[in-house]
Amino acid sequence: MSLYLPHERQRRALGVYLVLAVFMVTLAIAFFRIQVLRSSTWELRAESNRIRQLPVPTPRGIIYDREGRILADNVPGYAITVLPGPIDSVRATLNRMSEYVQLPASEVDRVLSTMQRFGREVVVDADADFAVVSAIQERRAEFPGVYVEMRPRRRYALGGAAAHVLGYVGEVTAEELESEEFLGERYTRGMIVGKTGIEKQYESMLQGRQGLKYVEFDARGRIVGDFTGVSTDEGEAGSELHLNIDLELQQWIDHIFPDTMAGAVVALDPADGGVLALYSAPTFDPNAFVGGIDPTLWAGLATDERKPLFDRSVLGLYPPASTWKLAAAGIALDLGVVVPDEHMQVPCTGGWYWGNRYWRCWDAGGHGYQTLAEAIGNSCDVYFYQLGLRVGLDQMLRRATDIGFSRRCGVDLPQESQGIFPEDRTWWERNFGYRATEGEVLNLAIGQGPNSQTPLKIAQFYLALARDNVSAPAPMVVRGEPIAEGWGLNLAPEHIEAMREGLRMVTAPGGTAHFGTALEHWEVIGKTGTGQNAQSAQDHAWFAGMAGPPGAPPEIVVAVIVEFGDAGSTVASPIASKTADYYLRRKHGIPVDTIQTYGEHLRVGRPAPWYRRRFPPRGEGT
C-alpha cells in the first residue's frame, strides 16, 4: 500500500512532530512566562494568600496611686477572633462555637454584619475563659478562621471602691472610631479603649501602640503559625500613670460609706489641689466591664434606681445649702461690706421681716446678735439674709460667677457637671419667666434658690479656704503640675481666719457637728448643710470642711454628701471626719483605729481619755 510506504510515513511523522512541537513549546513558553518572568508577582500573591497581618495587643499603662501602689494593671487573658471569609461558613463556624462560648443569635448577627461592613477580623469574645480557649484549640480543624490570642486583660485592684474615678475599658465601638478622638491609624476595630473616668481621660497615654504580626493561614482559614519571614512588631506598651489618689483612703471611704446610702465623698490635698479620693456610692465592679459586660448585668446596672453607674462626685448636682454660706461670707468680706467682728443690725429672733414676707431662720429659737464667725457656727439664716442684702444681688451673682459656681472645676475627668448658678438677673427671665427681685439674694446668701453644685465644686471652694493664698487650682486626679489657678477671693488673712473660726465653732463643743467630728489627733473644722430637695421629705446631708493637726494648717479638705441623709451633722460629718482621720493618721504614722470620732466612742462605750485633753471643759483649761 502506497499510503504506508516509508517515505510517506516519514513525511507524515514530520507533520506530527511539528504539531507536537507547537503544543509543547506553547506549554513551555506559558510556564516560562509565569514561572520566570512573572514569578515575583505570583510569589507575592502566594504570600498574601496565606499570610495575614494581625494586631498584637499591647498592655495598657499601669495606673498607680500616689504611693506607687497599683490601682489598675493587666493580667493575661484570651481573645477569640474570627477572620473574614465566606459569610455562610463564618456563620456555621460561629454556630459551632456557640457550644462553647455564650453566643446568642443577635451576637452572631453583629459579628457577621461588622465583618461584612469592614471586611476584617472581628473579636467574638475579648475575654474568653481558659477552658473555652483550650476546647477551641483542641478542635482547631473545626474552627476555620478562628484565631485565639493572648490579650492583656485589665484588672482593677480596688474593684468598686474606685470604679467611678478610674472608669473602665471596653472594645471600641464603630461610633467611637469615627469620632475625632480615635481617628488615625492608631485605633482599629477590636481594640480596647477607656470608656469612662481616668481610663478615658488619659486614653492616648494609657493605650500605647498596637503591634503587628504576620500569621500564616491555610485555605480554610486555619492557623498554621507565625510567619517568620517578617519580624513581628511588638508594639509599645501604654505609659504608666501616677494618680494623686490614695488607694487605701479610697478603700477606706468605700468601707465606711453606709451601704444603703447614696452619695459622694471628695478629698483634696490643700497643698496642690490633688484629688486624694473621689468616691461615689453606690458603686459597681469595673472588672465586670472588661472584655464585654454580660448583657443582663448591664441591664441591671443601667436600670437600677440607685444609679450605680452615675458618678455623683463630679456629675451629681445638689443644692449646696448652708455649705454655701461660706461663699456668701467670702464675697461679702472681699467686697468689704461686712467686718468679721461686727454684728448685723437686726439680731436673729428666729426670723426676719423683709419686704412683705417673714424670712425664717432654721432655728426658731433665734441666735441673737452674732459676729460673722458666730453666724457661721450657728449657720444663722437671719445674719446671712442681711449679709446678702449688703452684697446686693448683682454683686452676689457677679462674684459667685467669678468663683466659678456656674462653671466646671476643670478636673481631669472626661465628664463633669457644670454648676447651676445665675450669672446675672436675666437668668430668672430665661429660666423662670419673671424678673428677679432684690429679694432673690436672701435665698442665695443661705445657699438656697437656683443654686446646684457638684460635691467636687464645693470641695474646691473649701480648698480655697484651706489654702492661705486663698485660691483654688483645678483638682487633679493625675499627679503633675497644678493647673493655673482660676480664681481668688482676695481675702486678708484675718478674714480667712474669721471664716475658719466660724467653721471651728461648728465642730467645737456645743457645735452641731461636734460629736461626729471630734478626733483624738486632729482638728476638724467644717460646715454642715441640709439640702432640701424635691424628691423626698428627707434632705440631702452635706459636710464640707478641712482637717489637720491642731493649730497647724489643714492637710486635707473633705466634702461629703449623703443623699436623703437628713441633717449633715449626723450622717455626713462623721464620714468626713473619719476620712480625714484615716488619711492623717497614716500620713503622720499613727496607727489607724476604726473607732475614730468622739461620737463613735460614746456609742460603742469605749472611753476616750483624749477627749478632755483635746477639748478641755470651760474653766479647766488655761
Binding site: 499510503l3 516509508p6 507536537l20 493561614f217
Partner: protein
C-alpha cells in the same frame, strides 16, 4: 540482567520513560499528601497508586506478549462493550472525588472505574482496524464519515456525562488517526472550521470575515472536493454560528463560568476562577527552582484544589519550579515523540494507526491538563497520564502502553 529488563520492556525507551513518569507521579502524589493538616484521602494516596502501578506492570507484562492478532480481534468486541458501558454509565454512573456532579464512574464492588478510559482505547483499535483496511487516502468528506461516526458515538456519550475533557481526547484520537491515514491537512482544517465558527460567532463582523475566508479556501480547494461537500462545510459553519447562542444558554452555569473564567479568572476569584488562580499562584510562586519537594505552601495549606489528581502539575510547578516543569514537559514530549517514531518505523498500517491514536489521546490529555494549570486551556476534569492519581487510569495508561509496544514491535 539488563538484557532481560530490555527484553521485558519490549521497547526500553518508551516504557522506561513512562515508568519514570509513573514513579515521578507517585512521588508527586506523595508530596500532594504532605499537607499541614493530614487528609485521609490524600495522605496515603501514593501507596495506593504504587499498588496500582504494580498491578499495571503485571497487566503490561501480559499484554505486551499477546499475539497482535488478538489485539486486532478484540477491537470490535471491546468497542461494543465500551459503548454499552458508556450508555450504562449515563444511567447508573456516579461522580467521584472532585467531580462529584457528573456521571463518569461505574462502581463494581469496592472499585470504581471510568468506562471512558476503556472506550478510548477500544475506539483507537476499532478505528485503526477500519482505516488500516483502506488502501487509499481519505480525500472527501464522505471518506471521513465512517471513522468520524465510530469516534462520534463514544464522544457523544461522554459529552452527555458530561466530561468535556475526555471528549476532547476523542477528538484528538480522530484527528491524529485521520492524519496518519492520509487525510489532507486542508480537509481536516475544513472539518474543524465549524468549531471555530461556534466560538467566534459572538462577534458578527469577525465571524463574517471568517466565513468569507472559509469560502475562499473552498474555492481554491474546489478540485479536491465535491460541490455538495463544500456546501456542507459552509452550511456547517452557518449552523454552528446559529446554534452558538442557544448552545451557550443551554450550558449549566458552572460550565459557562468555566469558559468565562478562562477568559478572565479574576471575574470570580472566589468561585469559578478560584482553581485556576490558585493554580497559577502555585506555579508562579515556584519560580525557577521551586519551593522544594513537599514544601510548597500553596499545596501544604490547601489552597490548591485537587492537588493529587487533576492539578498535580501545579504541585510540580510549585515545588520543582520551571526546571521541574520543563523537565516533565520534555519527558512527556519524549514519550509522544517515541510513539510517532515507532509509528514511522512500523510498516504495518494497523500498528501505525494504533500508535497515532494513542498519541492523539495522550497529547490532548497532557496539553489540556498541563495547560489548564496556567490558564492556557479552560479547566476540564482531565487527568495527566501516568502522573495524576487514579487507579484505573494508571492501569489503562499502561494497558495502552502495552498495546503500543506490542503492535510496534510486531515484525
Amino acid at each position: 540482567m539488563i538484557r532481560l529488563l530490555r527484553l521485558w520492556t519490549v521497547d526500553a525507551r518508551l516504557v522506561g520513560a513512562i515508568a519514570g513518569l509513573t514513579l515521578f507521579g507517585i512521588a508527586m502524589i506523595y508530596s500532594a499528601g504532605e499537607v499541614h493538616i493530614p487528609n485521609p484521602v490524600t495522605d496515603e494516596a501514593w501507596l495506593r497508586q504504587l499498588l496500582w502501578f504494580a498491578i499495571a506492570l503485571v497487566a503490561f507484562t501480559a499484554l505486551a506478549r499477546v499475539p497482535p492478532r488478538w489485539i486486532e480481534w478484540v477491537a470490535v468486541p471491546a468497542y461494543v462493550v465500551s459503548i454499552v458501558l458508556l450508555a450504562i454509565t449515563l444511567v447508573i454512573g456516579t461522580g467521584s472525588g472532585t467531580a462529584a456532579g457528573v456521571r463518569s464512574w461505574i462502581a463494581v464492588g469496592g472499585l470504581s472505574f471510568q468506562p471512558a478510559e476503556v472506550a478510548k482505547l477500544a475506539t483507537v483499535l476499532v478505528v485503526a482496524r477500519l482505516l488500516s483496511q483502506r488502501g487509499t487516502k481519505l480525500n472527501t468528506l464522505r471518506d471521513l464519515m465512517a471513522p468520524a461516526a465510530l469516534v462520534g458515538l463514544p464522544l457523544g456519550l461522554v459529552v452527555l456525562q458530561p466530561d468535556i475533557g475526555t471528549a476532547m481526547a476523542f477528538v484528538g484520537i480522530l484527528f491524529a488517526m485521520l492524519f496518519w491515514a492520509g487525510t489532507p491537512v486542508a480537509l481536516l482544517v475544513l472539518v474543524a472550521s465549524p468549531v471555530v465558527s461556534l466560538f467566534i460567532s459572538y462577534d458578527t463582523r469577525l465571524w463574517s470575515w471568517y466565513i468569507l475566508a472559509v469560502i475562499g479556501f473552498l474555492y481554491f480547494y474546489r478540485y479536491r472536493l465535491f460541490l455538495f461537500e463544500s456546501v456542507t462545510v459552509v452550511l456547517a459553519n452557518f449552523a454552528a454560528a446559529t446554534i452558538s447562542r442557544p448552545l451557550w444558554n443551554s450550558l449549566a452555569t458552572y460550565q459557562q463560568n468555566r469558559i468565562l473564567v478562562y477568559l478572565d479568572p479574576e471575574v470570580d476569584p472566589r468561585g469559578a476562577g478560584y482553581q485556576v488562580i490558585q493554580s497559577k499562584v502555585s506555579v508562579g510562586s515556584g519560580g525557577l527552582l521551586g519551593q522544594g519537594f513537599t514544601l510548597g505552601p500553596q499545596k501544604r495549606y490547601d489552597f490548591l484544589p485537587a492537588q493529587h489528581t487533576d492539578f498535580i502539575f501545579s504541585v510540580v510547578g510549585e515545588e520543582l519550579g520551571f526546571v521541574g516543569t520543563v523537565f516533565a514537559i520534555a519527558a512527556f514530549t519524549y514519550v509522544l515523540m517515541r510513539l510517532v517514531q515507532l509509528a514511522e518505523r512500523s510498516p504495518d498500517p494497523f500498528a501505525g494507526l494504533v500508535l497515532l491514536g494513542i498519541f492523539g489521546a495522550w497529547l490532548v490529555h497532557i496539553f489540556v491538563n498541563i495547560g489548564m494549570t496556567v490558564g492556557l486551556v479552560p479547566i476540564t476534569g482531565i487527568p495527566l497520564p501516568f502522573v495524576s492519581y487514579g487507579g484505573t487510569f494508571v492501569l489503562m495508561s499502561w494497558v495502552a502502553t502495552a498495546i503500543a509496544v506490542r503492535v510496534a514491535h510486531e515484525r
